[in-house]
Amino acid sequence: MANSYWVEPDVKFVRQLKTMGGDTLKKCYQCATCSVVCPISPEERPFPRKEMIAAQWGLKDKLVGNMDVWLCHQCNDCSTYCPRGAKPGDILNAVRGMTITEYAWPGWLGKIVPDARFWWLLLAIPIAIFLVLLGATGYLKIPEGEIEFAKFFPTLLVDLVFVPLATLWIPLTFGIGISRFMKAIHNNAVAEGKAKRNDLNIPDFLKSLVCTIPTILSHSKFSQCTANKDRYLAHLLVLFSFAGLFVVTNIFFVALYILQLPGPYSQANPVKIFANLNAIALLVGVILMISNRLKDRGPNVGKGSYFDWSLILLVLGLVATGGLSELTRLAHLPSIAYPMYFAHLVFVFCLFAYLPFSKLAHLVYRTLAMAYSRYALREPCE
């Protein structure tokens, strides 16, 4: 403890955090009730009390590179018991948002994705790309006859957009973000003495990563919370249906390009049934999430910020347009089905293209942080 840490409060960071849903952060008076009631916090150097004062003092480097904030599952037990209404759960959520922004590459995108003022721009980008693509290839019209989306938006054009998005854009941007993030949390853990080892050994880390997956899939951390336990089911549904849809997309990709079987597929196709089930699960999950967030949990539990809501609404838009385009296709309503499909593709684009910058990135950041925590604390696999 001999060395002193030179503190330079960053007032701007405090203000940013406040706009990201951390507007109550200054209320904390450091009683540490939150750290005591948090079901997830470790015994040594527990959170979120220390994160609260770091947030008040605008100590960015103590927050954005802090793995602890990712161990938090925002169950809000802390916020429920906080005697000051400082909403530590919300603050950590805001810090996570700030972390995604901080390590994002390119930086400007990282800044506009969480900024409520630019929602239209984010939607305008794919719309513009699609219109240009369709216009240039002469497709920009409602096709006649049997509804077939490929007639409106050729699969090749779709893939021309989505394949590079998935294979180049995401790996590149996310890769940079992730490596910055990993470096930061490692350095922070070592500097603050939270890690039991000071090296970063990739094979060991991967081992920890592998055994973290079951924890995530089972949501076992999530289920330790009490204040808003119902969020557990919603989150589980969304996570699994997303995973299901991911699998389905890959199967169709293989079917199309390797097995040369273009759609539309029969509704009796088992893969199709699985896809529809997942879509329904996702819809149910998202609606549950929305109703959970809107539920009145007393003055201490926040209802989320733009950062949270933009993702939820995006997913809602995604399932809604997907479902509606399929239903209207079956109902032979081309004037609705095609625009719906267009909208659906816009949302899919948004989901993929902004993945490293939106709240969805937490899927990866949290997984890595949980794995790192296990690694750094030398916790064995169960």
């Binding site: 403890m1 001999a2 060395n3 002193s4 840490y5 030179w6 503190v7 330079e8 409060p9 007032v11 405090v14 203000r15 406040k18 200054k26 209320k27 008076y29 450091q30 150097r45 220390k50 004062i53 770091a54 008040q56 003092w57 100590l59 103590k62 000051r84 603050e192």
Partner: protein, 796 residues
């Protein structure tokens, strides 16, 4: 006065079931005019029964009521001028003892006296003791003098002026004495004051100007500036105050006391006081005929900033110690933390909160070194290096001031100005919490607990280092200015201020008991100081803010008025409010030993050239300490004296030749210990039936002759139970229990010479809420006494 006793025994509240009342009645001697019992003595019929005895042909003038404790129903059993003596059969006997038909040891078939018989004996003893006391007390008569009801307010700050206004508003006259050239005190040097009304978040314009205007305009208030008190003589209702120009000398100044060794018995005496003539001002009893007369005094002399102890540098080397060699810095002393490590005096930009306030009142907050606006200011609370040494003087004031001044910093600078507050404690009681919250809400105010260990120069700024912060580590911050939060030290700590022409000295005594504050009991009796008639308010009493000072002033004024009116009616003001008795001295037998003068906790006694005590009844609080101190046993009160208690002790029947049926006398202070015994009964706890309890006004009033009498009578053990003494004393009369403790030390020697064991006499300290400990304490003492065996003087 010829005593005509009437004894009335109540059978209610379980007394009748537990005791054999007929047997008890038989113990009443035939010379008692009336002896009656009633099922419920406090009922209208019971009261009527007593009244008949008083009004009837028997002409009872002294009523002995054997019923409940004297602490209850005193208003029901009030028969005007008739002496009323209460015998505590309820709480003291039947509620605290079960009359079982078993033996002391080993149950029904066991050995020793039967428990129910012991309890009957207990009741009989108490009845005898009550009658004995009733025979020896007289109805009190108040001591009346013509008094003056003007109130002097010392100090013309916010508290003093508010006090004067309170005095004037209720129709009394006030004179404000201010040392400085004008009134207003520190309050006029403030920019803003902390909020006093909803929502308790924003700083307020100071109210002082308004108060000054009101006070100056009030016809019942006289304000005199540039004056100091040279001497205060006399007593409540009759204070003679001599003023002098501030900073000058006067012939009426109280002479410096000669230094006395600690532990010496004689009080500090001015030089040649004994030789001075009654007219010579060097004699503190000399009367200044030009003095102003006041009835009571409100002490509002305020505070000065707290400073930690000086470090050893200036001190003379002690004997036997090597003087420091040339060129060598003397070793810094362990116990003397100061501001040196924080750079006060070394760096111009390190200032105190007092200096910052004055700066802020005049204009913007600028760095003293270069006059540039301060972009970051660090406030350091408790600058005593983590010791919390200023704790007694910080109260909530240093916290509130730091929050207030942090707001100034943010007000004066731009949006990016920073104010840091490092605290050991953040105390914002009551509504002040809202103020704390509002300061916290400011993005530019950064708070943490932490121990600031150093301030150093860095370029043209300062760097502050703090350990053990809430940030989880030791940190450094750079700041343009550092402000040290100093507490408020009452002026009374270091200066006599009031300059009493009292034998016990010019200032307050035993100041170390309360860190220099003049209170006589801070918790139970706010405003009352160790000198009757002087009521402290505002920062003289505790570090506090403007609003609290205003409220405090009202409290002290109410006390001062109570004092005037009590003096006017010739009764005690407090804590025995309304007590008409006062100590009477049988001077013919006085040996001029001055013990009473010295021991009186309130300096009520002066003495003449020969050393004979000169009582000042209106200064007296009727504690009885003088009576306990007097070796000649010549001090007493009409209803409480050596004889009245002595006769109670003698009225206890001590069984002879019985190794089991021992007797233990308990002298219990009526403020805490005796009520605690009542509570033992109330809670149906139990203690040995071999104990006899006599309430006393204060352990300080216990005269050792009672102990000697008891021992020579054959009583096996004696316990004195009183309030805690020492640092956090709870004694109502400051030092009563401590004084008895000292007296008892001496009695230890006497016991030895009589071949009696020291263990037979024991003193215990107890608080009123510790009643549940009493049975254990008694049991332990009984075991001790059984261990040393029966008193060999039995039967002599």
């Amino acid at each position: 006065m010829e005593k005509k006793l009437g004894v009335y025994i109540c059978k209610g509240c379980g007394i009748g079931e537990a005791l054999d009342i007929e047997k008890l009645e038989k113990k009443v001697p035939p010379k008692v005019k009336i002896c009656k019992s009633h099922p419920i003595m406090c009922s209208p019929e019971g009261i009527e029964l007593i009244k008949q005895g008083i009004a009837g042909e028997e002409g009872v003038n002294t009523v002995v009521i054997a019923a409940c404790s004297r602490r209850v129903l005193y208003d029901v059993f009030d028969f005007g001028p008739v002496i009323v003596e209460r015998v505590n059969l309820r709480e003291g006997v039947v509620w605290s003892h079960k009359p079982e038909e078993k033996r002391m040891t080993g149950g029904e078939e066991g050995e020793g006296p039967r428990v129910d018989e012991l309890i009957q004996e207990m009741a009989e003893d108490y009845l005898r003791m009550g009658m004995a006391e009733a025979e020896r007390v007289l109805p009190p008569e108040p001591y009346k003098e013509t008094i003056d009801k003007k109130i002097m307010v010392m100090g013309g700050g916010i508290t003093g002026l508010s006090a004067a206004l309170e005095v004037a508003k209720v129709g009394y006259e006030a004179t404000v004495i201010e040392k400085g050239p004008q009134v207003g005190g520190f309050a006029v040097k403030m920019r803003k004051q902390t909020p006093s009304s909803y929502p308790y978040e924003d700083l307020q314009e100071p109210v002082i100007q308004q108060i000054i205007k009101e006070a100056e305009a009030h016809p019942k208030i006289e304000i005199r500036t540039g004056l100091e008190v040279a001497r205060i003589a006399g007593s409540p209702g009759l204070f003679d105050v001599t003023f002098k120009q501030a900073g000058t000398k006067s012939k009426w100044d109280i002479p410096e006391p000669v230094e006395v060794d600690e532990g010496a018995e004689a009080p500090p005496q001015p030089p040649d006081a004994d030789k001075a003539t009654p007219e010579d001002p060097a004699n503190i009893l000399a009367k200044d005929t030009d003095a102003d007369r006041f009835g009571a005094i409100v002490l509002a002399t305020g505070w000065k900033p707290w400073e930690p102890q000086e470090q050893g540098a200036a001190e003379e080397p002690k004997e036997g110690e090597e003087p420091p060699k040339e060129g060598e810095e003397p070793e810094p002393k362990e116990e003397g933390p100061n501001y040196e490590h924080l750079g006060l005096g070394k760096f111009p930009d390190v200032i105190t909160n007092v200096a910052l306030e004055e700066m802020a009142a005049k204009g913007k907050i600028l760095r003293p070194s270069d006059g540039k606006p301060a972009a970051s200011v660090a406030f350091v609370q408790c600058p005593g290096q983590g010791t919390d040494e200023d704790f007694p003087y910080a109260s909530s004031i240093t916290s509130m001031v730091a929050l207030k001044q942090a707001k100034y910093v943010r007000e004066d600078g731009g949006d990016d100005t920073k104010a840091y507050i490092f605290y050991q404690h953040m105390r914002t009681p009551g509504q002040n919490e809202y103020f704390y919250k509002s300061a916290q809400q400011d993005d530019g105010i950064f708070l943490t607990k932490g121990d600031v260990v150093s301030v150093s120069q860095n370029g043209d700024g300062l760097v502050l280092e703090a350990n053990d912060t809430l940030l989880g580590e030791n940190i450094k911050v750079s700041a343009d200015m550092v402000v040290l939060g100093t507490g408020m030290v009452p002026i009374t700590r270091d200066e006599p201020v009031l300059n009493f022409a009292y034998r016990q000295g010019a200032g307050f005594r035993d100041l170390d008991l309360f860190d220099g504050y003049p209170d006589s009991n801070f918790i139970c009796f706010p405003y009352e100081t160790r000198r009757t008639g002087i009521y402290a308010a505002g920062c003289a009493r505790r570090a506090m803010g403007i609003q609290e000072c205003i409220e405090d002033a009202a409290g002290a004024v109410l006390k001062a008025i109570q004092c005037l009116e009590s003096a006017h009616r010739g009764v005690s003001v407090h804590p025995r409010s309304g007590d008409m008795t006062f100590p009477d001295f049988f001077f013919q037998r006085c040996t001029q030993c001055k013990r009473c003068t010295e021991e009186c906790p309130f300096g009520a006694l002066d003495d003449d050239e020969k050393g004979t005590p000169l009582p000042n009844p209106t200064r007296c609080r009727r504690c009885g300490t003088c009576m306990g101190a007097c070796p000649e046993r010549i001090v007493g009160f009409a209803d409480y004296n050596i004889d009245s208690i002595g006769s109670m002790v003698k009225a206890i029947e001590v069984p002879e030749d019985d190794d089991e049926n021992l007797r233990v006398l308990v002298l219990a202070c009526e403020n805490d210990a005796y009520p605690a015994f009542d509570m033992v009964g109330l809670h149906r706890l139990s203690y040995s039936p071999l104990v006899r309890i006599i309430p006393v006004r204060c352990l300080g009033s216990v005269n050792v002759v009672w102990i000697k009498d008891a021992l020579s009578k054959g009583i096996d053990g004696i316990m004195t139970i009183g309030c805690k003494f020492g640092d956090d004393y709870q004694c109502h009369f400051i030092k009563g229990s401590e004084l008895l403790d000292i007296r008892m030390d001496k009695i230890g020697e006497a016991l030895k010479s009589l071949a009696l064991e020291k263990e037979r006499v024991q003193q215990v300290q107890i608080a009123i809420d510790e009643y549940d400990k009493i049975p254990g304490i008694i049991e332990e003492f009984m075991e001790t006494i059984q261990g040393v065996g029966p008193n060999p003087f039995k039967g002599f």
